[in-house]
């Protein structure tokens, strides 16, 4: 941007946030930092919340943009493939909620642990899965992340425990992972996600109790996208203050559409857990553009206007893009280039996912037990004995 003084500071107001632009020039090399201030998030049983500002560097901005765009495009491609009947069964899409998955991951380390429910494709990616493996799992091919045997709801990577189909069951599991972290003394934490629908599950309250009693390093995160399948939060919960539902567990509620907000809150929560204070609860206010799953058009319980309004005013990717563009952190062309690259990655993955062969039939009975000698499994009739290896 040409010759400039060595420091330049600008403060302005943009979309409910104050932004301080700070340009530092040294030896003809300039770095651009954005300090973004937002309003205090709602706190429960906490004296202080996460910091009210964050620093976004250009590199970070581009990385977050790329990852969110990848999730977005991947989910839209899955939509397409589902309508072509190449993906079957359940398919719960994450578009609209990208800032949650990306923001959380940037607030923790890959060596930490994470578990979520069935709207899991985004997390599978942020936790180390590739688009190829994810899409091939959706299409049920042998190159899928679970060799085609799990499907949409059962994807796993290192320190990522799925992908869980039973609403709420993942929450005690996540606390168990946190127990293991504490037991082994490895300073790792577990992020344990659930939705506004699951938030009323009894086993979650059982988990709050034990996690708090035993001071487990567990971040409970409620992704409140306002609808549990077709039931709005007001019709399902006597108290929709999900960040307070942990009662004796400190909680915070924040804008889940702002990736930086999510990042800072996650860092704050992770620090809370790592310092031995026990669990903490975060409520991310977010939104899903698709219905609950591909069999739900998503417009019988909410209006198209509502969906459109969120898209135009609060889309997480647009929000980040605007921030970066209006502050010259990146150019339109640069972001377009990322878009093109992402599109290509998705196309390649889809190509793989539709051409990779299905799993071989002799894999049918494998993976029943771990570390066991091969055994026989009864087929559909008494004369059919199938082979099973670990």
């Amino acid at each position: 941007t040409g010759v400039m003084p060595s420091k330049k500071i600008q403060l302005f107001y943009h979309r409910n946030y104050y932004i301080l632009k700070y340009i530092k020039i040294e030896n003809f090399h300039f770095e651009l930092f954005l300090f973004i201030f937002w309003k205090k998030c709602d706190l429960h049983k906490l004296e202080e919340g996460p910091p009210l500002q964050a620093v976004l560097t250009r590199e970070e901005g581009l990385q977050y943009y790329r990852t969110m765009q990848t999730i977005r495009r991947m989910e839209l491609k899955a939509d397409q493939l589902y309508k072509q009947k190449i993906i079957r069964g359940f398919c719960h899409l994450y578009d609209g909620q990208e800032a949650c998955a990306v923001g959380i991951e940037t607030g923790i380390n890959l060596s930490d642990h994470l578990i979520t429910a069935y709207r899991a494709h985004g997390y599978t990616l942020t936790r180390g899965g590739t688009v190829r493996e994810i899409m091939a799992e959706l299409t049920g091919r042998r190159g899928g992340i679970a060799k085609g045997k799990g499907g949409s709801m059962h994807m796993y990577t290192k320190h990522f425990y799925g992908g869980n189909g039973i609403v709420g069951a993942q929450v005690p599991l996540g606390a168990g992972v946190a127990l293991a972290c504490k037991y082994l003394g490895n300073n790792e934490i577990c992020v344990c996600l659930y939705g506004d629908g699951a938030a009323n599950q009894g086993q979650i309250f059982e988990t709050y109790n034990m996690a708090s009693l035993w001071k487990l390093p567990c971040i409970f995160i409620c992704e409140n996208n306002k609808y549990g399948m077709g039931t709005s939060v007001e019709r399902a919960a006597a108290s929709t203050d999900y960040y307070k539902r942990g009662d004796f567990i400190p909680g915070l509620r924040l804008d889940g559409m702002d990736v930086l907000c999510v990042r800072e809150a996650t860092k704050f929560a992770a620090e809370h857990c790592r310092s031995g204070k026990g669990p903490i609860l975060m409520e991310l206010q977010t939104y899903r553009y698709h219905g609950h799953s591909m069999s739900d058009p998503g417009v019988s319980y909410r209006t198209r206007e509502e969906i459109q309004e969120v898209r135009s005013k609060s889309d997480p990717i647009s929000m980040l893009k605007d921030r970066m563009l209006s502050n010259n952190m990146a150019s339109v062309e640069e972001l377009k280039e990322i878009d093109v690259e992402v599109r290509k990655e998705i196309e390649d993955a889809a190509q793989f996912a539709t051409t990779d062969p299905e799993p071989p039939l002799d894999d049918l009975c494998n993976h029943i037990f771990y570390n066991d000698p091969p055994m026989e499994v009864r087929g559909t009739n008494p004369w059919t004995k199938l082979k099973s290896v670990s």
Partner: protein, 348 residues
Amino acid sequence: MNTLLIVLLIIMEISQIHFLYVTVRDALNQALDEELERDERVFLLGEEVAQYDGAYKVSRGLWKKYGDKRIIDTPITEMGFAGIAVGAAMAGLRPICEFMTFNFSMQAIDQVINSAAKTYYMSAGLQPVPIVFRGPNGASAGVAAQHSQCFAAWYGHCPGLKVVSPWSAEDAKGLLKSAIRDDNPVVFLENELMYGVPFEMSEEAQSKDFLLPIGKAKIERQGNHVTLVSHSRMVSLCLDAAAVLAKEGIECEVINMRTIRPLDAEAIETSVMKTNHLITVEGGWPQFGVGAEILARIMEGPAFNFLDAPAVRVTGVDIPMPYAKILEDNSIPQIKDIIFSVKKTLNV
């Protein structure tokens, strides 16, 4: 007479024959203690397992020895703590999750089946779940309907689980150690009425590395006329019935299943091919039960052609368990029921 006894004792001492009688409870306690000592990742959680020394005293002394980190008292929240145990197993620990009785496991059955049993398969081998769910199963004495159900058939139905049902003290010790060392989810069905029963424990069984293989039945008594297949406490009844029948010249072969899943069909088939008659004996309800499965397998397998009479089942009566003693006694198989069924099968 006295001199004979003294001579006998001297001979025993010289030949170092030590008869050690150990109750099932103590055998389980030994197994837990040895495995906790052997592997730091093993830990026990459940209601009253720590400071109370165990609701049935199975974990007596363990909390004192191993402390809060490894012996954990939980609140009365089965679904929650079973899920926590499964999560800990996924993250690399080796939990033993105690259900005070398996009746309470119904509260947590989703975690046992959907989170533990199926995960290794759903993840195509990425995520093993090395966990043991243990506790007393089946009828007790006077505890009525909600506390008396047998879950062998329910858990035995599900792929991805191993289901073990020990009878003797040796069974209890060897099988529990194997279950804890197994890298897969194991449902370990104990029996409250067996806890206090003493059994002879061989030298071999007293060793710290004594293991019994999961999936292999044991022939407790050889016989030629009829095969009695049973598990857990009912094995005692079968042996008692066999003793009575022996006086009438009927020799029963008594098989102790030891494991419900995987079922040792081969051992049963081999026996049936010898005796030509089969009776299964279980405490649980008849419909879709353990006996039903065994009979189906015999029908479908090579032993069918060796049967001289239809194979039958002796089971608990198909009713919720009543309270009054006379009613309860008549709700589960008695020795006379086994004897009656043997004679019917042999047509004597």
